[in-house]
Assembly symmetry: D2
Homo-oligomer: 398 residues x 4
């Protein structure tokens, strides 16, 4: 998912609840980074990863740009040069540092960014405490919180990439458990052919791409109550899955060969045994844990090999209340497209609502890195099919 | 569409009819090439284009490999080295020349390829005339004919690319009319919300990706009876459509800027007037003709600009009997994915049935270059969203 | 060497002799191409190779552009579009087709180019026969002849590349013998320390980069009377020369690994035996023939392995009358730089005299593909150090 | 110049003097970095630049690998993983981190590296203080000091690149003066034709590429006593020098156009006035200071424009005692090649002595960033012709 998917909601939290949400959100980002060395905040090993200091600065810039500049009288900018560095891609809001350059910027420093955060956090707290804000302003604050929660997930996965691709395999934090075992039997949940309703219905927060409740017609299908496990995935590897061209999309086959892909990301075979880099360091692979850090291409090839398939996002949404989910973002067969009657919002925040709706696949669910309360059954995450640095996984349909 | 999408059918033409279809098909390919100079058969200016001689050889190789080698007793290969050069991508059938190298091969010569064609054509005619073939064998001959018809369309568009990107702008053939005017009023056809059936129903030939008739639920929509015209598209250009980031997908915007795209392919502005390279040479642009050689990205941006959208493939298929179509392949909003209950066929011919079902958009209809009888309402063509060398166009939905 | 190195001479052939030279030169180019199929004239498998039809057109364009347009009253151009297609790189003489696109142009046809040749050849013959030309005009005609002779060598090597990289390995011509054996003993020729004179001294034709006779100081050295042979080079391969990083330049090592170089160009190991593609087709490697189609990098690594080195161009020029040469262009250690007092000529023909004098190595001698009389002891050929499609070789110094 | 050009010397400093040299050298590197923020140590904006922390670690690794492991009994490595990260390119000494990845490594941290430095520095001091070392061991220590001095120059230029390409233009250090004005008249120094001796003669330290004193024959030439100034270079810009193809090498012209080069590196035109980023921050360009951060290509084009040329390295070395030098590394016309009788040393330290001797140009002199005593009249620096991040400059010859 793009790091700044735009969004809005009609119903507003009370100003008090919003203040609470804001404080917690801001604190959470800093808690996540509290385990880092200064150097870890700076690097960008691949274009999909952003330096942690950039995430901290960008989420802060968002509040200054869209809340304080708009709704706080006589707001004095913390620094005139901020916007340039922390604007991620809003083409209509001035210049930006191109994404591939973020890891080249040693300044502003981490200390500066924490000061910037304190300044903006306090200003927003003041505003929420002492002013009666319009619904529109409150809405933008709420969006800002959800925007920052998205970046919290990216912080985890980007930190994992930064540390896990360092030859020294440093640990992030001993407490972060990323491999919850599904200790229950595999069962197949049957869904009957018919008309189902898709899309976000309640008044709670959601992004605009979830809206436009609409009917869809599904055929009979059976979906697994369990995610595919490491043990099962090893069988696929051992059966020569990565060498069998018949299992792969044409573009996937090129990707496998150009990048010499033969296992999930973060896996290492040492003296004949499988290890996995996790945020707790390099550990033995747990065969019962759900496989993760695999691309859509690999999920699809595995399903082909089993003679099954991935669910569509409509199937997933329809069946999801009958199985456990939440530890892996789950690849679906669905391409990311607008729902019927999707309308893009006006203005800078809604600038590009449809702009990612091509060449990406929808993922449903959530992962071990997803911030609290930052998902729901209708949430539509999306990534290019070859990407693997998120905590991705998949379940089968037959 | 890939040049060798695999396919099969359950119902068989009589052996006599098939002989007729085969003879016509083979003759048509040679008629198309009869307007070329020897040199035109050889070049490959971009990877999506194949040299005409390659098309002629590859379609012939297909018949020798899958019909004569399988069903003709004691068949003597025309040449042992053929397969290597003309295998397009069947990974399970030996080596192949990688696609980007086709234009580097001066040998075999055009004369050799015509000899090869005669040899194989005559052998197949013998077979169909003198042997009683099994249904399976007849099926493969039928597929071979449809396969060659697909290549006939590619012959036209590849020849157009080869000649139209030559600085001398040579004509292909004065008789080839590619710009039929739609001389009727624009009207909006209303389709009512409800369940509709999608997929190929009759016993006639179709590809396997059209099969699996299934229900779909559509919301109310209105679709234009006319394709977007050159005149309308010029309005979009003049209104700055190519410079307005808000109209484009993020990937499209990169594509526009990297490739300096500011008009459809084959358009030239000379002394303030629009010209278009056509197979009849460079001519003044006809404002009333349907716009063509535009990418999905451009079709989408135009629709955004009009506050409308493209149809999904299900909408198009449901509405298609209420409007004229057939001069342009029409971009839809739908990503190319398997239908519910899609099953890939076994064996070499069905080797890769799903392998293109990622990162491509479906096009519906047919074009001025489509071979006779080589389309139907359920036909699913597909291309990457940036491609423009086919006779693409689009109609709007609101 | 660039295909259009500029040049001039002070002494002029008589007009009669020049007419003779011109006629022979024009006939030679066409003789070289007489063994080709039409398709062979068209392709450009790598950027360093030009399509044979381009060579034929370009050398003709040169005479029309620089002789007929300048010195033939009321000359009527054969075709207005010619210059655009056949200008190789003279930035000051209008547009040009970029080098990588030459192989994409099916038009003008080969037949057209032969007509163009006849037209220009006849006009020049008329001019030389019926007009009294100025020295300046005669000089340009002479340059044009030498320019075409350079292209004759390129014709051979480009044709070899085109046919030798075709999977069918077609023969060019059974008569072309490219592997003359040196059937004499290896001896080391000693040259004594001292001042030597370098540069072209006589009044015969030479290029401007050979001029400026100047003194150089050489230390004692011994140079081999024989080129390194295939047999010797195989010893280097068998000793692991391509895997020993210590023998290679840093850039060479990257080149070896990125391109998986492990033998000279055109070598093939089939069933444990070495074969070589030659203009006579695929033949067994002759162990006594001088090794060819090796890069400077490989020549250097071989010399390192032997504990010897390559000669500088001054050493080669000083010693060359004491050994046989002429079958291989011989790599030297010298970078291509201007001689002291080098002055670039004015005008379009002298446009870029120094423009290749960076990042290239000097080669001395001549090769089996060099046109008659198209070399001399002072001739300075030059290529980038990784190039191998010429008939390159080397001799050692200790 | 490569960051680890190999070297050796015959004459040895006394062990006491060497201890002094070692201490000063180690302290100097840390002084240079004392002006940095932690974040500045980490980034690598282009492949030619290394992160400052890498320089500090690599120079330390050198002493541990080649001195302590060899000559210190029972040496306990500071850390087993060090070599992998800090080996720059010695292929025969185990694995290495490829150069383009250095900026992706957040670990080891800066604090860790300073600890590593202290550990190794103290061990070497112990060794020099308490042991009687062999001449060979002392030689390696001396080389290690000179190696670290080379990296000190790179520290300055890499830091300048890191800060000067940051949009915030942070200062490095107010005291660092990089633009010494040459406040004297331009004069032309005449050198007479004849035999001159080239190469390092004294017993002081030098690199092996300076050795092999040999005679060379020079023609008459006149060399400027002054470097080309900013003011003079602006005249070249204003005269359209960057747009005149006739002034440039062919490869240079491609480089200019692909990279949109139209001024020296670090120059900015703001409101019609020229500014320059320096280690003191962004300042107005001083017209009288010697131009710097220009490529060989630009130096050559300027000389062409003036109708003059660059000196060869032999000319420069012969004339250098008649002019002031030391603020700019000066481009010469000479390609970097071995001197006559150059022999590469054995063993790991001499592993690759000739491996950079292709495709690079020699620079002579020194720059404002050169460490004290780290140059001499015979010093041969070398870089690829397009590189600009060093304090390069040039003087003319006519």
């Amino acid at each position: 998912m793009s790091d700044t998917q735009k969004c809005h909601s009609f119903f507003m939290l009370s100003q008090d609840h919003l203040l609470q949400l804001f404080k917690e959100t801001r604190a959470d980002s800093e808690m996540i980074c509290s385990f880092l060395e200064t150097e870890d905040y700076v690097v960008q090993p691949i274009v999909d990863v952003s330096p942690p200091k950039w995430h901290l600065g960008h989420t802060t810039w968002f509040f200054e740009e869209f809340v304080l500049k708009e709704y706080s009288k006589d707001h004095k900018l913390f620094d005139q040069n901020t916007a340039y560095v922390f604007n991620s891609y809003y083409e209509s809001v001035g210049d930006k540092v191109i994404r591939t350059n973020r890891g080249n910027l040693s300044r502003p420093t981490v200390a500066w960014i924490y000061e910037f955060r304190r300044y903006v956090t306090n200003k927003i707290i003041d505003l929420l405490t002492n002013e009666k804000l319009s619904n529109k302003a409150l809405e933008v604050v709420e969006i800002g919180c959800h925007h920052e929660k998205q970046h919290q997930e990216l912080l985890y996965t980007d930190i994992k990439y930064i540390l896990g691709n360092n030859p020294l395999f440093p640990k992030y934090n001993n407490e972060f458990e990323e491999n919850p075992v599904q200790d229950f039997e595999r069962k197949w949940i049957d869904i009957t052919e018919g008309i189902y309703e898709i899309g976000h219905k309640s008044d709670d927060f959601c992004y605009d791409n979830e809206k436009g409740v609409h009917k869809t017609y599904l055929c009979d299908f059976s979906i697994s109550n369990k995610l595919v496990t490491n043990k099962e995935y090893i069988e696929f590897i051992n059966a020569g899955g990565y060498e069998d061209v018949l299992l792969w999309h044409a573009e996937a086959w090129d990707w496998v060969n150009e990048n010499k892909i033969d296992k999930p990301s973060y896996w290492h075979k040492i003296d004949g045994e499988w290890y996995q880099y996790t945020l707790q360091g390099l550990v033995k692979l747990d065969p019962e844990a759900p496989v993760t850090h695999i691309s859509y291409y690999e999920a699809f090839a595995y399903a082909q090999w089993k003679g099954m398939r991935l669910p569509t996002e409509e199937e997933w949404e329809t069946a999801q209340d009958k199985f456990e989910w939440g530890s892996r973002w789950e690849w679906t067969e669905s391409a990311y497209s607008p729902y019927p009657n999707y309308h893009k919002p006006d203005g800078a925040l809604g600038e590009y609502n449809g702009k990612f709706m091509v060449n990406q696949k929808v993922l449903r669910g959530a992962s071990v890195a997803t911030s609290r309360d930052h998902t729901r059954p209708t949430y539509r995450n999306f990534f290019h099919p070859q990407l693997r640095w998120q905590f991705t996984g998949f379940r089968l349909v037959k």
